[in-house]
Amino acid sequence: MTRAQIKTDIIRNKYIYIMALPVIAYYIIFHYMPMYGAIIAFKEFNPALGIIRSPWVGFKHFKSFFEGVYFWRLIRNTLLISIYSLVWGFPAPIILALLLNEVKNNYFKRTVQTISYLPHFISLVVVCGIIKDFTSTDGVINDIIELLGGERTNFLMKPEWFRPIYVGSGIWQEVGWGSIIYLAAITNIDPELYEAATIDGASRWKQTWHITLPGIVPTIVILLILRLGGLMSVGFEKIILLYNSATMETADVISSYVYRRGLLDFDYSFSAAVGLFNSVINLILITSANKLSRKISETSLW
């Protein structure tokens, strides 16, 4: 298009461009400005000088992060929490969807579904408050343990319990909600396949294994790519609500460390460097997961 044609188009359809403006401005200001702001990772940021005038220091902050005492602990904790969440939390909604699909009583099925979605909408603060109350020394979980002859433990003060609590409560909160997408995929499977299988004498187990499961594989693959792409990104919100000085050893992840060093200790440049390192890793992971999936299953995000 020539410049003149562009001009006439903009004038004629001016309203759509006026509509686009606030949206573009929003993305530039709240998403691209922080990307630009991330250059403070290579500077010694001084709030009085601002981003531009703060002096460059190259890779100093990255170096001190890589050589720091917490580096491997953070990588290990982040990876372990993600991997446990993946191993236990990823199959859970698939299994739930398959089990729900086997229920013939629609009323019962819908009731179970409705109840199982509920925890998804409870706020993280409340969920963590309940976890704290239930797992405390005089909480309901310890009451039961004592009744069964066990000993009381303050679970949130024990480093070895942090990951099970984090992952377990995550599954509790998301298993029902996560199953929706698989149930939707199951309803899209051609019913003729089941009819044909029944005529051929396939048992219900065989139908599940050979029709239902293959029918939802594309959905599984897409969600798996997303999960793999997010392996190094564990959100800080739930971590900082649940951890304490006693459980840092297993609980502190990259994002919570960024939060603490940056916003509590005001080490802006250092924690921006840690955050940038994490963002780059995440980008590499999601693009590689996508590429890998395109190669092996022809399903991909883009």
């Binding site: 949206v23 706020s123 603060v125 409340v126 009819e195 921006a272």
Partner: protein, 302 residues
């Protein structure tokens, strides 16, 4: 088609139904426990061990304390404001963006879509984001909780998919009648997209209702705090500031006040959870089908 059920199938059905019932109870029980505890006599509650199937005794003293606590009541009002104003801005901005991206013949449309997609894969990180909001002068203002998250990119794409499925002929005939893009969006597209609009409203509103982190890092003035932040102080941080008003409210002249304050705290914890979650629990049964619809629309690739 009637097929005879094998013994194996019957056993499977029994186990399946039992398992799903247990799962549903597990999803619901923690909230029920809190509900029972919130009405219980705190002294009996302290003595009680194990699960609860009904309130122990009955008292609404806890709720009285909650509603007399000025932190909680202002928090509630603030949250109502953030939910209403925030969701309104979310819907306006998301509709604009979705409309622009769903039209044909918009210059640089692909570039805009690309620019938006990138932000889902890469971000500048928490610290640059914090510094940006700070430099915009939004710290300690209500804007900090409304403007920086004006558009959720995921929701934007869901809405675009929905807008794109509306036949072009409607738009064309409106254009012939002299309608501009604002009229087309607000008079034709949005009224035809009530379902997706409901879904977006719910997603955004629940997001605002449950949000706490941005409030924690951007707000210092207590009179601006949303409910979740007050809740965090009461449940997680055991902050005395939000609880301190309790001492004045309980009649301390009668007994050793330490005990009373302790009991009051215990009860107030449970009551605030209920008060903060009730709107969601109450609305949930009526709106859950829209949530489910939202996941379905989102799962289709646009």
């Amino acid at each position: 088609m009637v097929t005879k059920k094998t013994v194996g199938e019957r056993i499977f059905n029994c186990i399946n139904i039992t398992f799903l019932t247990i799962l549903a109870i597990a999803c619901l029980y923690p909230m029920l426990y809190v509900l029972f505890a919130s009405f219980s006599d705190p002294i009996e509650l302290m003595k009680h061990r194990g699960l609860m199937l009904r309130p122990l005794g009955f008292t609404i003293e806890g709720y009285k304390l909650v509603f007399k606590n000025p932190s909680i009541t202002t928090g509630y009002l603030n949250t109502l404001f953030y939910v209403t104003a925030g969701t309104a801005i979310n819907l306006f901005m998301t509709s604009l963006g979705a409309y622009v991206l769903s039209r044909k013949n918009v210059l640089w449309k692909n570039a805009i879509a690309f620019m938006i997609t990138i932000t889902m894969l890469f971000s500048g990180g928490l610290i640059p984001f914090y510094l940006l909001v700070k430099s915009l002068g939004m710290v300690n203002t209500r804007w900090a909780l409304i403007i920086p998250g004006a558009i959720s990119t995921y929701n934007l794409f869901v809405m675009r998919t929905s807008f794109a499925s509306i036949p072009d002929s409607l738009e064309e005939s409106a254009k012939i009648d002299g309608a501009n893009d604002f009229i087309i969006l607000f008079r034709i597209i949005l009224p035809l997209s009530k379902a997706v609009l409901a879904v977006m409203t719910l997603f955004y509103a629940v997001g605002h209702w449950n949000a706490w982190f941005n409030a924690m890092i951007f707000l210092r003035k207590r009179e601006l705090f949303p409910l979740q932040l007050i809740l965090r102080e009461i449940l997680i941080a055991n902050d005395m500031q939000s609880m301190s008003n309790l001492e004045g409210l309980v009649d301390v002249s009668v007994q050793a006040n330490a005990d009373i304050v302790y009991f009051a705290r215990l009860l107030v914890q449970y009551c605030t959870i209920i008060v903060a979650t009730l709107p969601i629990l109450f609305l949930y049964p009526f709106v859950q089908k829209y949530f489910v619809k939202g996941v379905m629309i989102g799962s289709l690739k646009g």
